[in-house]
C-alpha cells in the first residue's frame, strides 16, 4: 500500500534544497580545506597542500584555546539553563494567579534577535556607560571590565546566553512535564516515595528523551554562536569562541584554506558529540517499543 517511491517524492523538495544550500557548500569547504588559499599570499589561487592545514590546526594554540573556551561556555551555559529551566517548568506546572503573565514575560528573551541581545548586554556592561559596572563599583567596589578580564567576559557571555535561551529550555521541559502520565507519580507517592525519589525514579526517566533532545539542540546552537558574543565583546579576550575564531581567520585574514579546515573539524566534532546524544535518545525509545 505504501510505495517507497511516493515517500522519496515527498522527501525530494527538502532533499534538493538541503543538498544545494547545505551539502554543496559543505563539499566546497571540504575541498578548500585541503588547499592553501590566501588572497594575500604571493601565489594566487588554490594550491593543493594535502593535510597541511589539519596538521597546522593541531598545533595552533589559538584554535585549541578557542575549542576549550567554547566547550567551557557550552557546559556552563547549558548546565545552568537545564537546571533553571527545569525548576521554572516545575513551578509552571502548578496553577497560580499570574502564571500566564509570567510565562509571556519569561518567553520574551527568546524573541530578541541574537544581534540585539548582544547589543542590549553590551549596553548593560560597557564601562562608563552601562549600569552593571557602575553599580558593582559603587556598592561592592568591584572592578568589572569585560574588555580587560577574560574570565569576566566569559562569565558575561554565559549569563547572556542563559538569559536568552533558558526560556526555550523551560518551554520544552514544560511540554515534557505536562506529558508525563499521573498514575506512576501517584503510585510512587502511595508507595511512600519522597519528593526526591519521585523525581529520580519517575519524573526523570519520563523526562529523559525531552531532556536529551533539548541538550542536543542547545549544544548544536551554542557551538556555532557568533552574533551575540561578537556584538557583546567584539571577539575580545575570553570570548574568542571557535565560531568567532573561524570568522577572524576567514575574513580579516582571508586565509580561506585554513578557515575551511577548521570549520570541517569543528563540524566533525559537533556531529560526533550530537551522534552520541542521538543514539542515547533513539536507543531509549527502542527499548520502550520492545
Amino acid at each position: 500500500m505504501r510505495n517507497p517511491r511516493t515517500g522519496w517524492l515527498l522527501l525530494s523538495p527538502t532533499l534538493i534544497i538541503l543538498i544545494i544550500f547545505g551539502f554543496a557548500p559543505f563539499l566546497y569547504v571540504l575541498f578548500v580545506g585541503f588547499n592553501q588559499w590566501n588572497v594575500f599570499s604571493a601565489e594566487d589561487g588554490l594550491i593543493f597542500n594535502g593535510l597541511d592545514n589539519f596538521r597546522r590546526l593541531v598545533f595552533d594554540e589559538d584554535f585549541l584555546h578557542s575549542v576549550g573556551l567554547t566547550l567551557r561556555f557550552a557546559i556552563f551555559a547549558i548546565g545552568s539553563q537545564i537546571v533553571l529551566g527545569f525548576l521554572l517548568a516545575q513551578m509552571l506546572t502548578r496553577n497560580f494567579p499570574g502564571k500566564s503573565i509570567f510565562r509571556v514575560i519569561h518567553t520574551l528573551p527568546l524573541m530578541v534577535a541574537p544581534i540585539a541581545v548582544g547589543a542590549i548586554w553590551r549596553l548593560l556592561v560597557i564601562p562608563g556607560f552601562g549600569p552593571v559596572p557602575f553599580f558593582l563599583d559603587r556598592w561592592f567596589d568591584f572592578d568589572y571590565r569585560i574588555g580587560t578580564y577574560p574570565d569576566q567576559a566569559m562569565l558575561t557571555s554565559v549569563i547572556m546566553d542563559v538569559w536568552h535561551w533558558t526560556p526555550f529550555v523551560t518551554l520544552t521541559m514544560l511540554a515534557g512535564l505536562s506529558a508525563i502520565p499521573r498514575e506512576p507519580v501517584e503510585q510512587a507517592k502511595v508507595d511512600g516515595a519522597n519528593r526526591l525519589q519521585v523525581f529520580w525514579y519517575v519524573t526523570l526517566p519520563f523526562l529523559r528523551p525531552v531532556l536529551l533532545t533539548t541538550v542536543f539542540i542547545r549544544i548544536m546552537d551554542a557551538i556555532r554562536t557568533v552574533d551575540e558574543v561578537w556584538m557583546l565583546a567584539g571577539g575580545g579576550p575570553g570570548t574568542r569562541f571557535t565560531g568567532i575564531y573561524i570568522w577572524r581567520v576567514v575574513f580579516p585574514r582571508t586565509d580561506y584554506g585554513y578557515g575551511s579546515s577548521i570549520s570541517i573539524i569543528t563540524l566533525y566534532l559537533t556531529i560526533v558529540l550530537c551522534w552520541l546524544l542521538f543514539i542515547a535518545i533513539s536507543g531509549k525509545s527502542k527499548d520502550e517499543v520492545e
Binding site: M1, T6, I115, L171, L212, E288
Partner: protein
C-alpha cells in the same frame, strides 16, 4: 491542619518570590534598552541611571521615518513569512515521508538532515557567496526581442534568503514534527485510505488537523529564527534585500555608535515576535514535546 496551612503559605511565598525575582532579571536588560531608546546622546553619557526620566521619542521617529529602515522592515517581514510558510509545507511532506514510508537508510537521512544546522556559518559564507553570485545567474532572457531578465543573480534577493534559511530551519522543523506525526496512529491513515482518500486526502483530512499545534509551533519558531538571522543576511545581500538585523549591526560604526537609535530599533524589532508569542502562547508548549513522550 496548621502544618498544611504553613506549607501552603510557604509555597505561596516561594512561588511569588521566584516569580518576582525572575521577572526582574528577565526584564532588566529589556527595560534598560527601553530607557536608552528614550535618551539623547548627551544624556546617555551622564551617570548610568535605570529610571526613565521622560518620554522622548525622537529616536523612534528618526528610525521609523527613515525610508531605508522601512525597506529593511518589509524585507524582513517578507523573508521570514515566506521562509516560515515554505518550511512548514516542506517539513510536513518530508516528515510524513520519514514517518510512514520504509525508506532505505531512514535514520541516517534523518540525522543527516539535522547535521545541516550544525555547520559553523563563517566558512560556509564563501561557497554560498560564490553560489549566489555566479552559479545562480541568468545572463539574459529575451522573448520576441523583449528583454525580460538581464544579469539576474540570487545575490541580494528575498527569494535567495528564503531558500537559504531552510538550511537551518528545515532540520529543526522536521525534528519537531517527527514526534508529532509519529504520534498520530497509522490506523487513522489506513482508515482514510480505505474510505477512498488519496495521499493528499490523508494529509489534508488526517495529518493536518491532528498536527496543527505542532505545525503552529514549527511555523512560529521558523519565523522567529528567520527574523533574527544576521550573518547570512549581512553577507549575501547588499541593497535591495537587506533585513532589519543587518541594520542593527550597521549602527555600530567606527566613528561611534548611535546607541539611542540602536536601542529604539531593537525595541521595534522585538514587537512583531512578542505579539506572535503572546497570541500563540498555548500552542508553543503543546507542540514542543519533540514527540519524545509517548503514552
Amino acid at each position: 491542619m496548621t502544618t498544611s496551612t504553613q506549607q501552603r503559605i510557604g509555597r505561596f511565598f516561594t512561588t511569588y518570590g521566584i516569580w518576582i525575582f525572575m521577572t526582574v532579571l528577565t526584564l532588566l536588560p529589556i527595560w534598560w534598552m527601553f530607557v536608552v531608546s528614550m535618551r539623547t546622546r548627551v544624556e546617555l553619557f551622564a551617570r548610568p541611571n535605570l529610571a526613565l526620566s521622560r518620554l522622548w521619542l525622537e529616536n523612534y521617529s528618526n528610525v521609523l521615518t527613515d525610508s531605508t529602515f522601512q525597506r529593511y522592515m518589509t524585507n524582513s517581514l517578507v523573508v521570514s513569512t515566506g521562509n516560515a510558510l515554505l518550511v512548514m509545507v516542506l517539513a510536513l511532506l518530508a516528515t510524513y515521508a520519514l514517518s510512514r514510508y520504509k525508506l532505505a537508510g531512514r535514520d541516517n537521512i534523518f540525522f543527516w538532515l539535522i547535521t545541516n544546522r550544525m555547520a559553523p556559518p563563517a566558512a560556509f559564507l564563501l561557497p554560498l557567496f560564490i553560489m549566489f553570485t555566479r552559479t545562480f545567474r541568468i545572463e539574459e532572457i529575451t522573448i520576441f526581442d523583449v528583454t525580460l531578465v538581464q544579469g539576474w543573480t540570487l545575490y541580494d534577493t528575498q527569494i535567495g534568503l528564503i531558500l537559504l534559511y531552510c538550511v537551518f530551519n528545515l532540520p529543526f522543523a522536521i525534528w519537531l514534527l517527527k514526534g508529532v506525526i509519529d504520534g498520530i496512529p497509522i490506523e487513522l491513515d489506513d482508515a482514510a485510505m480505505i474510505d477512498g482518500a488519496g495521499l493528499l486526502g490523508v494529509l489534508r483530512y488526517v495529518i493536518l488537523p491532528l498536527s496543527a499545534p505542532g505545525l503552529a509551533v514549527t511555523a512560529i519558531l521558523s519565523w522567529i529564527f528567520a527574523w533574527n538571522e544576521y550573518l547570512f543576511a549581512a553577507n549575501l545581500t547588499s541593497v535591495n534585500a537587506r533585513t532589519i538585523t543587518t541594520a542593527l549591526a550597521e549602527f555600530v560604526t567606527v566613528t561611534g555608535t548611535n546607541w539611542g537609535e540602536l536601542a529604539a530599533m531593537s525595541m521595534i524589532t522585538l514587537i512583531p515576535s512578542a505579539i506572535i508569542v503572546i497570541l500563540a502562547q498555548r500552542y508553543i508548549v503543546m507542540g514542543l514535546t519533540f514527540g519524545a513522550v509517548k503514552e
